[in-house]
């Protein structure tokens, strides 16, 4: 659990390059050149992770999504 949280935080900071403490759709679109996902797919991923739908992806929401991903893999 601890490792998962730390890893999630690492990945969160990759997305939150400006260290705002949250990720916006704009941050996600910026990743498009670095990740093999289309803008539509990135938007879908963002919406999936943004549990409360407020347009800001917090570390907590991101960690929840990452935990779900690890659960899928195991």
């Amino acid at each position: 659990q601890q490792m998962m949280s730390e890893k999630a935080k690492e990945l969160f900071t990759v997305c939150d390059a400006e260290e705002k403490g949250f990720i916006t759709k704009r941050d996600m679109q910026r990743l498009q050149s670095q990740l093999p996902l289309s803008p539509d797919q990135l938007e879908h991923v963002f919406d999936s992770l943004d549990g409360d739908g407020n347009g800001f992806l917090t570390l907590e929401e991101f960690t929840d999504g990452f935990g779900g991903f690890l659960g899928m893999r195991s």
Binding site: E10, V14, L35, P36, S38, V45, G65, F69
Partner: protein, 31 residues
């Protein structure tokens, strides 16, 4: 445009998996 093919990557789970895998690869320095 849907490049997912028959692998099912068009699903939310597939996209999330792709997203996190890509981030992990990026973080680990893999090409």
């Amino acid at each position: 445009e849907n490049k997912a093919g028959a692998g099912g990557a068009a699903t939310s789970e597939g996209m999330l998996a792709n997203f996190f895998n890509s981030l992990l690869n990026k973080k680990s320095g893999a090409p």
